[in-house]
């Protein structure tokens, strides 16, 4: 348990960074994990060179999904659109720093799924990682 709910995760859950919405934004995307009811929206503003100048998330969910969103927002500041698109599961797991059971993996990866769907301008269904 102390693995699972490391200080870092609880801290990001209790004190999320980059929480909110952006207006205007370069892209926004929202999706949910219907099986657990977790919902997440991510807004991203890019500069002229296609790098993230600001990003923010709102939503509801468990500590894992919220902390992973917060950690992901932190990570992508300054990243290029291509870098966003190249993000993968391992990047998120590395941010969280814990082993996840399959049932919780979906929680952890919701933010990644939403971010990439937005970055690709694609529907959630056809997320290339699926």
């Amino acid at each position: 348990m102390d693995d699972f709910y490391r200080e870092l995760i609880l801290d990001h859950y209790k004190n999320p960074r980059f929480r909110g919405t952006l207006d205007p934004h370069s892209f926004t995307y929202e999706d949910e994990n219907p099986l657990c009811g977790d919902k997440l929206r991510i807004d991203v503003r890019l500069d002229d060179t296609g790098h993230v100048v600001e990003s923010a998330f709102t939503g509801r969910g468990c500590a894992i999904s919220q902390a992973s969103a917060s950690l992901l927002m932190e990570k992508i500041q300054g990243a290029s659109l291509d870098e966003l698109r190249a993000l993968n599961k391992d990047d998120v797991l590395e941010l969280l720093g814990i082993d996840l059971t399959p049932a919780r993996l979906k929680c952890a990866l919701l933010s990644l799924k939403v971010l990439k769907a937005g970055a690709y301008g694609l529907s959630g269904e056809s997320n290339p990682d699926e």
Partner: protein
Amino acid sequence: MTHSLATCRSDFPILAREAHPGVPLTFLDSGASSQKPESVIRAMDDYYRLHHANVHRGIHVLAEEATALYEGSRDSVQRFINAATRKEIIYTRNATEAINLVAYSWARANLKAGDRIVLTEMEHHANLVPWHILAGQIGVELDFVPVTDDGLLDLDAYARLLTREPKLVAFTHMSNVLGTINPVESLAAQAHAAGAKVLVDGAQSVPHLPVDVQTLGADFLAFSAHKMCGPTGIGVLWARQELLEAMPVFMGGGDMIRKVTLAGFKPNDLPYKFEAGTPAIAEGVGLGAAVDYLTGLGMEAVAAHERELITYALERLEEIPGVRVYGPPAERKGGVAAFTLEGVHPHDIAQVLDRDGVAVRAGHHCAQPLHERFDLAATARASFYLYNTRDDVDRLVVSLYRVKKLFA
């Protein structure tokens, strides 16, 4: 009876395992699927080691033994729910398939566009989606009895919906989230007076309460073996013989036929008419053993034991600041406590409890509309069965305090 209930915990091998090294298992997830006693596991094991062959048409010793064991289980199930004849016991994969069978066979033959079906807001997806599919295909209309803040069916609204002359009323005997035990007999009497047939989802009641189809008032009753000490892979549809006789077949294949030619087929007699292909034989044997086990304990005793446990559990849970339990008070419910803890997502509750060996379920428990109704994305749910004890409740409570502390 009460005596064997007191010691029955040791009949369940899995309850002796540790959840994690050094951490005992506190299994509070029987609402999703119960554990199996030694007698059930053994019956299936013996079946495969000593008696297996395909049933019904065989003239050799194994086929005869397998058929006797498998069909014997049907007699046990018949007695268990007090059905008039074994012809009324149709084996399916699970409660879900039993309801789908009614939707595909009875409903498609008897309902047409514009006909109404009354369901409730507390239904499990198993008693919603088959009707959604039907509505999409033939245009029946679905009405839903609202659930009150206390987790009960709104009986005034029910009476109003019946004035629209539904052809079918389908509701759960016991909610798998709220624990609410619905007054089936009076609901069914009203439905019949309005000219509707009545389907009762017994997935949560048959395992936990004495259910007698002679007094229940249902026309159809669906339940699953795996929630009542039996194996996965088998469930039951009970319906009155006349109804089943009049219904068209559902799936086609071996065993459900009397005669097949290239031009067509004649269906077999009940119950086989609705059982296509090689049945779940070992699972039938296991279900028979489960029903014998429950009969040995006595369903009155099982229900009383769970009533006592849920009463104690509600007391203890409600004493924890921030915990809210959904559903009616203990007198009106079975052994299910769905709850939230302020500031902590149910997934996180379940995850932390698991580290203490306490197995509860977190999510929507296949009742999304009910969670919508209470404006919840998810709840944590502790569900009790005959092998649970007050100690299990105490361990849950202690662990919930740890959750609170971690997320404080």
